[in-house]
């Protein structure tokens, strides 16, 4: 799940702006077991984690080995071009868990994340739980739920050939799948299609989400970014 560590925002811009807007719609909570230490009843623990998450209306949930609530299909037919089914399928994610993996839930508001974390503390699943989010929000969440932080990992951004990276809007979209499965070129294409009114921002976000194999792509944040790009507010 390092794939959630380097989600780009203006805070990591190469020419930094003085007061970047805080990101208030992108919070990930994920669970990971360690082989030989706490991987007994693993499938049951992971399923419980995701079932608890569903109560707090996540915008995506995922199993790192199978995918998120939106997945590609191998059996499309030509009617898809007019009547594509974009409805998410969270039950498919939960039912598909088979063994060792990482499971994650993505929320578009702080309150939902905090409520989920509070519930996880009571559930005592025994597997490692991490928040991947703005550090101040994660810290506040721990304080409010009475949790003492165990360890922290900071993303301190990018260096080297940053001239090879795309523009900020594209990076913000494509780095929501840190494994790189949402390509920068595809993110750029989706923004252009939304600008040309060939697809809605919501549809464009969902096309991208299907490529994120562990289900941590935040479709709501993507939709907001695309809408802002369309109205030239970024």
């Amino acid at each position: 799940m390092t794939n959630t560590l380097h989600r780009y925002s203006e805070h990591y811009a190469f020419e930094r702006t003085s007061n970047p807007e805080p990101i208030k719609d992108d919070y990930i909570v994920f669970a990971m077991a360690s082989r030989g230490l706490n991987d007994d009843n693993l499938v049951e623990k992971y399923r419980s984690f995701l079932q608890l998450a569903l109560k707090h209306k996540p915008v995506n949930i995922g199993d790192a080995t199978k995918g998120g609530i939106l997945r590609p299909r191998q059996d499309m037919n030509p009617t898809a071009h007019w009547r594509r089914d974009h409805s998410p399928d969270p039950e498919q994610v939960i039912a598909g868990i088979e063994g060792y993996t990482t499971v994650a839930a993505v929320f578009d508001n702080y309150e939902a994340m905090r409520a989920f974390v509070a519930e996880l503390e009571c559930a005592q699943l025994g597997i490692s739980i991490n928040i991947s989010a703005p550090m101040d929000d994660a810290r506040r969440c721990c304080e409010e739920t009475g949790i003492t932080r165990h360890s922290v990992e900071y993303s301190i951004g990018f260096c080297g050939r940053v001239d090879k990276l795309p523009d900020g809007t594209t990076l913000e979209l494509s780095t929501m799948c840190g494994h790189g499965m949402v390509s920068a070129n595809f993110a750029r294409k989706m923004v252009e299609w939304a600008k040309e009114n060939r697809r809605t921002a919501e549809e464009a976000a969902r096309y991208m989400a299907r490529f994120c194999i562990c289900g941590v792509f935040n479709v709501h944040r993507a939709e907001r970014i695309i809408k802002q790009a369309c109205t030239l507010n970024r």
Partner: protein, 277 residues
């Protein structure tokens, strides 16, 4: 990865899907082709695109008629209409491309999917990074640029010269012929991958020095590097790393917080961990 010329209809849908831009339409044959040297075998095109199983001749005919009338065909952008993308059987050394690029393949050395590292995500049960220590996650090629092991070795050898020790339970370390010198096996140096993580651990006091070293080294490599730094918090949940990074002027807006809710549930493992402490 290859594209079957018998099936491909040159719709172009797969071109922007490729994370490293290794697919293009060859005008000489009117089909999409994969640049084998550039392809990192991430399987994003094969697995990520939905598939129709249409007759290629029919699709080409429709596309030619539409093209003649200058009609814009507006298909779904994430579909391969004729299921033309075909994975190849990979052999050594090319197989390392997939191991480091396809997140669905678990790394043999660690058994972990994705980039194969646990960092501090399971630190509450492994105690890998202790109080007063810093764990570095130096990731090459991310986001979306890709890297060759030759570039990675350029940095690992320099870090080894500084006395850095590489995390043993890490996929890149498992490919080193001499971890004390940061040397990676010769036969994979030219292999291109989507990204790979090198992990090192130092005392907290060395963080500024190591970060500066990584920044300096990054100027000499032909890829981008993403850096993460971690530590264990004290009994009150405070971390000394924040102050160090703030003082040095590094951005640290986002990150991961291990909540400490994990516990060892295997009796035998519990005994081992206690004796190790």
């Amino acid at each position: 990865m290859r594209i079957d010329p018998e099936k491909c209809v040159a719709c172009g849908n797969c071109l922007p899907i490729c994370p490293v831009g290794a697919i293009h339409i060859d005008p000489a044959i009117g089909r999409a082709v994969v640049n084998e040297d550039g392809c990192v075998e991430c399987f994003a095109c094969f697995r990520g695109m939905s598939k129709e199983h249409l007759n290629p001749v029919m699709v080409r005919t429709i596309r030619q008629i539409a093209k003649f009338f200058r009609f814009r065909f507006d298909p779904e952008p994430d579909i391969c209409p004729t299921d033309a993308i075909i994975p190849q059987e990979l052999t050594w050394p090319r197989i390392v491309r997939r191991a480091f690029s396809d997140p669905q393949v678990p790394h043999e050395s660690t058994g972990i999917h994705g980039r194969g590292t646990a960092e501090v995500k399971t630190n509450d049960v492994t105690n890998r990074v202790k109080e007063g220590e810093a764990g570095f996650v130096v990731e090459f090629g991310r986001p979306g640029v890709g890297a060759r092991f030759r570039d990675i070795q350029q940095v690992t050898t320099a870090l080894a010269d500084c006395g850095c020790e590489f995390e043993k339970n890490n996929p890149v370390t498992s490919l080193m012929i001499d971890p004390s010198r940061g040397l990676i096996r010769e036969d994979i140096l030219n292999e291109k991958i989507l990204s790979a993580i090198v992990e090192i651990k130092t005392r907290l006091g060395q963080v500024p020095l190591i970060l500066k070293k990584i920044r300096d080294l990054s100027r000499a490599v032909d890829t981008v590097i993403s850096v993460g730094v971690s530590t264990r918090c004290d009994a009150a949940g405070n971390d000394a790393l924040h102050e160090i990074l703030e003082r040095e002027g590094y951005p640290m807006y986002r990150g991961k917080t291990n909540l400490g809710l994990g516990r060892i549930t295997h009796d035998t493992a519990q005994g081992k961990m206690q004796s190790a402490d």
